[in-house]
């Protein structure tokens, strides 16, 4: 570990100022990803700016629009077990608890969850080429070990996936990310927060260099009646999703009034296809219809060898998860807290 400066900041204005004035500066909150990256020699911050004590950023409150405001520094555990989240946004609670381990969720923050890096093996190995870590050096995953990699939205420069569970639920809930920077505040719709690799895989998201996430807004609709999160992974705890599905829906009799389906583990960002959701609107909530929607979601999917199985796995996971959402009590393993 390199020698580094450590400073604590008490408010977001100071945080932005320190980040702007320290060229080698990086924020630390829960530290569950930064310390990893540091130990693997993927980053060497010159100044660590501790934002864990920022005033007013670790709370969870109702907001004036009938939704909920999740503080960027509230921990994943505090969020998942918050009475209002459990009651009105159980999809989010289940998704958070499907991730990581109890210890990590106790330390990791909501803002940090959005900003975590991919767990691509080649990204994590400093001696491998990687366009995300070292732009222009190449992507060994395309022809190499790619069991965990993307089947949608990839580019010829990067086939990494974004690993978060929490963000899959936030995508389905159409959350809004509130950020602050040297030029003031802005609100970024969740679908526009993360990005696809394209020509610039080194960029995971659309947050500007000196911006900080202050909180996340959840809209009023939480799909608390009909929701499900299904996470499929190699082991049932402390593993990233091979495929995960978040479904929230509103029923009108036996018909689907509205539905959201977001996928994790398949792309560089949580994956939604509005056409699949529109297709289901007004239709009966049947296996056949969900299966047709799954086919729309997977229409452009392509495997790279080891991950070919994900295409069929995702189709089946979508159908199963949508059926489980009809009766949330039927949710099985992926919805249990990950130990």
């Amino acid at each position: 570990m390199n020698n580094f400066n450590y400073i604590q900041v008490a408010n977001d204005t100071d945080a932005i100022e320190e980040l702007t004035s320290n060229k080698e500066g990086q924020f630390i909150a829960g530290g569950t990803n930064l310390i990893d990256l540091w130990k693997y020699n993927l980053t060497h911050p010159g100044t660590v700016i501790d934002i864990s004590g920022l005033k007013g950023c670790n709370t969870i409150n109702e907001d004036e629009n009938g939704g909920l405001l999740l503080g960027a520094l509230a921990t994943n555990a505090d969020t998942a077990y918050h009475p209002l989240v459990e009651k009105y946004y159980p999809l989010l609670s289940k998704a958070i608890l499907a991730g990581a381990s109890a210890q990590i969720r106790n330390s990791a923050t909501n803002g940090g969850n959005l900003l975590q890096r991919t767990r691509c093996y080649y990204f994590y190995d400093a001696s491998s080429p990687c366009n995300k870590r070292n732009p222009g050096s190449g992507c060994p995953a395309i022809e190499g070990q790619n069991r965990m990699h993307a089947i949608l939205g990839f580019s010829d420069r990067c086939i990494a996936v974004f690993p978060s569970d929490m963000c899959v639920a936030l995508a389905a809930l159409e959350a809004v990310v509130n950020v602050k920077g040297p030029n003031g505040k802005r609100a970024i719709p969740f679908a526009e927060f993360h990005r696809l690799p394209g020509e610039r895989p080194e960029l995971d998201n659309n947050l500007d260099a000196h911006e900080i996430i202050t909180n996340i807004s959840l809209p009023e609709e939480g799909f608390e009646e009909n929701y499900s999160y299904l996470k499929l992974r190699d082991k049932n705890s402390y593993a990233f999703a091979l495929v995960s599905v978040a479904t929230g829906l509103k029923l009108n009799g036996g018909n689907i009034d509205s539905i959201r389906i977001a996928l994790g583990g398949v792309a560089h960002m949580p994956w939604r296809v509005p056409e699949a959701e529109t297709y289901l609107r007004g239709k009966e909530a049947t296996e056949e219809n969900f299966s047709a929607a799954a086919a729309i979601l997977m229409r452009d999917a392509k495997g790279f060898g080891h991950n070919d199985f994900k295409i069929e796995l995702a189709k089946r996971a979508i159908v199963r998860n949508c059926l489980m959402a009809l009766d949330p009590k039927s949710q099985r393993p992926g919805a249990q807290p990950s130990l």
């Binding site: 570990m1 390199n2 130990k39 020699n41 060497h44 400093a126 001696s127």
Partner: protein, 365 residues
Amino acid sequence: MNTQQQVGKPISRLEGRLKVTGAAKYSGDYDVPNLLYGYIVNSTITKGKILDIDESQARALPGIIAIFSHKNRPSLPWFDIMYMDMDAPPGSPFKPLYDDHIKYNGQPIALLVAESFELARYAASLIKVSYEKESFNTDLEANIKKSRSPRKGMATLIKPLPPSPKGDFEKAYADADAKASGDFVHGTEHHNPLELFATTTIFEGDGKLTVYDKTQGTSNCQVYIANVFGLHYKDVRVLSPFVGGAFGSGLRPQYQLFLCVMASLELKRNVRVTMDRKQMFTFGHRPQTVQTTRFGATSDGILTAIDHTAIAETSQFEDYTEVVVNWANILYPAKNTKLDYKLVPLDVYTPIDMRARRKYRNARY
């Protein structure tokens, strides 16, 4: 004592409380005064030659005590027998920092010694190594045609090679009332015990060393160190009061022992070298195998014919063997057997025994 009454009753291990309370000290835990910390640099290519090791950035850091590589290691014996530990398979044992040749991916190529572990690890990240790469083979299935019989040696005594064929397998199999067959592929498996491989060497002076090593055989390590570094057996004391899991990986001296003792003798200081979790994948492992089986039986269930062939990987420098195919015929003594065990040398480190059953990756019927 009525042994029957003991069955089913819980019993505490002698060291159980010490281990679960954290009071048990492992080889990397000893609080030794004036300790230096080593961190190992591993090759990032699989086969080839080291052209250059640029140490300038690492050496510039305050607190770096020494950097060892093949360029400046002490003069050591070059003949194989001095490096042969008690569990060494037939062949030529791996000699750390011996020369510029890379024999496998993750081979130790340098040791940084610093005032703290964190500094040594950071400095290691600043070492720039340039290589001349050669093409390599690490895929057993792709090289299966290169299989050959294992060389024999001392290890063959405790791990016998398969017995000669008995009867006429092909005829018995053709005539069998019932037949079964299957092919199985096992991937490489690494032991990865909870306790990391680590060595703490106390430089006692007068040619004496006390060594805490993560090992399942202290006398094996004692003899190895004495032979390699030209010390008297009685002057080398190796201790390993607790084993935090090993499953066979601690049967042979691993390279951190060599590097730690070398640094301690060269610097005349107390030194600790601890591998990190990633480095736990850079030495002995259970080999990949491809196994084919055919069984023939009579209609009343008597096995008459057994054919079991296993082809396993080994390194290019030692012939590690496992007892894989001998068992079926010991358990079920059929009259017609064909048991065969062959090796394919690959550009990997020498495999080592692993306790516990295998998981097969593919079954092809």
